[in-house]
Point group: C2
Chain length 217, copies 2
Amino acid sequence: MRISELASSSGVPIATIKYYIREGLLPAGRPVAANQADYGEDHLRRLRLVRALVAVRGLPVSTAADVLAVLGDGRGESVHRTLSRVLAAMDTARARDPAASDAGLAEVHGLVAAMGWHIPPRSAAVDALARALDALDQLGIRFGTRALLPYARLAERTARVDLDLLAAPAGGDPAEHAVLLAVLLEPALLVLRRMAQEHHSAAHGPDPAQPGGADRP
Amino acid sequence: MRISELASSSGVPIATIKYYIREGLLPAGRPVAANQADYGEDHLRRLRLVRALVAVRGLPVSTAADVLAVLGDGRGESVHRTLSRVLAAMDTARARDPAASDAGLAEVHGLVAAMGWHIPPRSAAVDALARALDALDQLGIRFGTRALLPYARLAERTARVDLDLLAAPAGGDPAEHAVLLAVLLEPALLVLRRMAQEHHSAAHGPDPAQPGGADRP
């Protein structure tokens, strides 16, 4: 199909499609004339994936390009390996943030040890979590290993649900599936937490004396 | 203190501080001369909160302004009520996104019913989740009530941990605490999920035949 058809099928403007091609998120079309290229179903599919990462997930274009590059060269590897490389691609894009404090890192290392997780001590995820603790600390809120533990245990169970989904036969490209689960489900998970908070806030709003309410286990 | 001291104490450039004042995120200083204003500890504290929302959490400045406005007028109300208003402020900022499909909304309503959550059927959170499902659907991935349920149950437990933290006496402003938990913990929770995924990906990477691995319960 022509670029104009690709635009109308995907709902993405031609100028945006050209921008994605220049930035390496989308392969160029097959040249068929001096000033014309042909695009196939693969382009349409990849374009929808790009839109999901950039417009729905809100990833910077450069990060989306890093994540998509992972898809290109992982044929035949396990979904766990692909997921691992997707996580690394998401992480490198954040390396420009300021460094985490030693105190923040110590809390995160304590958490990793308590959870029995095998993660490199200077992994970008460790750094990101330590920086989040630093930000809270600067606001006078001490949030360390002990406060994080219940959240980490729930995150552990969430990751198991992820892996169950990844292990289920789903049709389509398993590597793409891994990307979608790692990246696109993130906003959905945050919204679910907000919905649960909303439910409990509404249920217990009028009574400041009993924040947990009567329906606690 | 002068604006130059506020800048050096907070690490935020003077131009950025002036921008935050113009956008209503930070109150103006007390005028002490024709071209000079005085800033206090309250300014420094509020500035750190702004930075946490904008630079650490990555909120758009307009959303951060909406969230901070909630803090201003909720003295004396319960933390649940404040949390509820913070969630609403976060949501209105996303109302410009495209509308969710009826199919997506039906899946989310099914989930809300299955969880027994009391949430308005056209709440912005419901819309946001339906849009996330729409994005997955466009990529050929059906993700509905059934697939969401295990995540919703974990989100429910996460919200209970949040409420336990909110209920604990922490010193400082309870409303600010609610904002920090609702907004600033979000990236930390996503990072925890990534860390757990990283642990399991590394542990099970070489063996595509056993995605769940041997350490499953």
